[in-house]
C-alpha cells in the first residue's frame, strides 16, 4: 500500500468491501458468542473498536522503533495492555456489561481482526491513515455485531434493545438466542450482505 489511499475509501472499505465479519470472517468467536442481544453486540463492538483504534495508533507511532523480527510479540503486548484496560474500566463502571460479555473481554486479545490490522496496515502506514483504517474496520465490526444481535433478539426474545414488542406470554423463537441460532442467523445475514454488496458494485 505504497500509494496514498483515498481516505474516504480507506474508511469505507472496512464497512462494506472488506467488512471484517461478513467478508473477511475475522473475529468470529465474539461475533457468535456475545450477540444474543443487540445491546451486547453493540457493547462488544465498541470495546473492540477502542482496542483496535488505540493499538493502531500506538503501532503506527512506534513502528520505526520495533525491530522486524520481534514485531508480532511487541504488537501482542500492546494489544493485551489495551484489552486489560478495557476489562478494568468495564468492571468498574459498567459491571452489567462486564458480566454479560464475560470471557469474551480478555479474548479480544486473540481477535484476529486487531492483530491483523496492526500487522497489515498500521505497521506500514502513517498515523492518520491508521486511525481512519481502525475507525472504518471497528465501525464495520460494530455494525455487523449489532445487526446480528438485533436479528437474534427480535426473533428470539421478541424485543429490540430490551424493548419488548410482543406480550410476555408470546412464544418467540428461542432457538435464535441459543448457540445454534447464532450460526444460522449469521449464515443468512452473510448471504444477504453478499447479495447486496454484489448488486451495488
Amino acid at each position: 500500500m505504497a500509494e496514498k489511499l483515498n481516505q474516504k475509501q480507506n474508511f469505507l472499505k472496512g464497512i462494506i468491501k472488506d467488512n471484517p465479519v461478513f467478508v473477511m470472517l475475522l473475529g468470529m468467536c465474539p461475533t457468535l458468542g456475545v450477540t444474543s442481544s443487540a445491546f451486547n453486540g453493540l457493547g462488544m463492538g465498541i470495546a473492540t473498536l477502542f482496542v483496535l483504534l488505540m493499538s493502531n495508533i500506538v503501532v503506527s507511532l512506534i513502528k520505526s522503533q520495533i525491530p522486524a523480527k520481534v514485531r508480532i510479540p511487541a504488537f501482542i503486548i500492546i494489544i493485551a495492555s489495551f484489552v486489560t484496560i478495557v476489562e478494568m474500566v468495564l468492571e468498574a463502571y459498567i459491571p452489567f456489561l462486564f458480566e454479560q460479555l464475560g470471557i469474551f473481554i480478555p479474548l479480544i486479545v486473540v481477535n484476529c481482526l486487531i492483530l491483523g490490522r496492526a500487522e497489515a496496515f498500521a505497521s506500514k502506514n502513517n498515523l492518520i491513515s491508521s486511525i481512519i483504517d481502525a475507525l472504518g474496520m471497528g465501525i464495520g465490526f460494530t455494525i455487523a455485531l449489532t445487526l446480528l444481535g438485533a436479528a437474534r433478539e427480535i426473533l428470539g426474545s421478541g424485543s429490540i434493545f430490551d424493548l419488548r414488542f410482543v406480550s410476555e406470554d408470546a412464544n418467540t423463537m428461542i432457538l435464535f438466542i441459543l448457540p445454534p441460532g447464532a450460526f444460522i442467523a449469521l449464515a443468512y445475514l452473510t448471504l444477504a450482505f453478499n447479495r447486496i454488496s454484489t448488486k451495488t458494485s
Partner: protein
C-alpha cells in the same frame, strides 16, 4: 466420578466450539478436509494441555501471591505465544515425524482463542487443582477435535451436493455448523 462429569460436560454438553464459541476461526478455516482437521486437533490437544499447565502454575504461584492478578490476560497470551514457538522448535529437533504432521498448524494456534479461553476458564473451576485444570484442558481439546472432525466430514460430502449459488461457501458452512450445534443442544441437562 467428578472427572467423568467434566469430560462429558466439556465434550458434549458445553462443547467448546458449538456452544461456547471458542476456536471458531480454525473450526471454519481448516475444516475442508478430514485429514487436516485431525492434524489441527492433534496440535490443539498438545498446545492446550501444556499451555493450561503453564498458565495455571503461573497464576497460582506468581500472579496471585504478588497481587498482580490484573496482568492475567497479558501474561497468559505471552506464555501461550512463546510456548507455541518453543514447541515448534523442540518438535522440529526431537520428532521430525510429529513436526511434519502438526508443524503447519502450530503458528495458527497462537491466535486460536480456544487455547487462551480454556486457560482462563480453567482458573474458575470449582475446587480447582492443577490436575483438574489439566484434565479440563484435555477434555476440551477432545471436544474441539470431535466438533472439528465431524464438521469436516460433513463438509467433504457437501462438496458434491447441489447447493443454491448464493449459499455456496460461508453461508452453507455456517448453516451446517448451526445444525450441528442444534444436535449438540440435545445433550443439555445430561450432567
Amino acid at each position: 466420578m467428578e472427572y467423568i462429569i467434566i469430560l462429558i460436560a466439556a465434550v458434549f454438553v458445553n462443547n467448546i466450539v458449538l456452544s461456547q464459541f471458542l476456536g471458531i476461526c480454525p473450526f471454519l478455516g481448516v475444516s475442508n478436509k478430514v485429514s487436516t482437521s485431525v492434524g489441527m486437533s492433534g496440535a490443539v490437544l498438545f498446545v492446550m494441555t501444556i499451555a493450561t499447565l503453564a498458565t495455571y502454575l503461573l497464576h497460582e504461584f506468581v500472579l496471585v501471591p504478588s497481587g498482580m492478578d490484573y496482568l492475567r490476560t497479558i501474561t497468559f497470551i505471552l506464555v501461550i505465544a512463546s510456548l507455541v514457538q518453543m514447541v515448534e522448535i523442540i518438535l522440529k529437533k526431537v520428532s521430525p515425524a510429529l513436526y511434519q504432521a502438526l508443524g503447519v498448524f502450530l503458528p495458527l494456534i497462537t491466535t486460536n482463542c480456544a487455547v487462551l479461553g480454556v486457560a482462563i476458564l480453567a482458573l474458575g473451576l470449582e475446587n480447582g487443582s492443577l490436575l483438574k485444570a489439566v484434565f479440563f484442558a484435555i477434555a476440551n481439546s477432545i471436544g474441539f477435535a470431535l466438533a472439528l472432525i465431524v464438521f469436516a466430514s460433513i463438509r467433504e460430502h457437501l462438496e458434491l451436493a447441489n447447493i443454491p449459488k448464493g449459499m455456496k461457501g460461508v453461508p452453507i458452512n455456517l448453516l451446517v455448523a448451526g445444525l450441528l450445534s442444534l444436535a449438540f443442544l440435545g445433550f443439555t441437562g445430561l450432567v
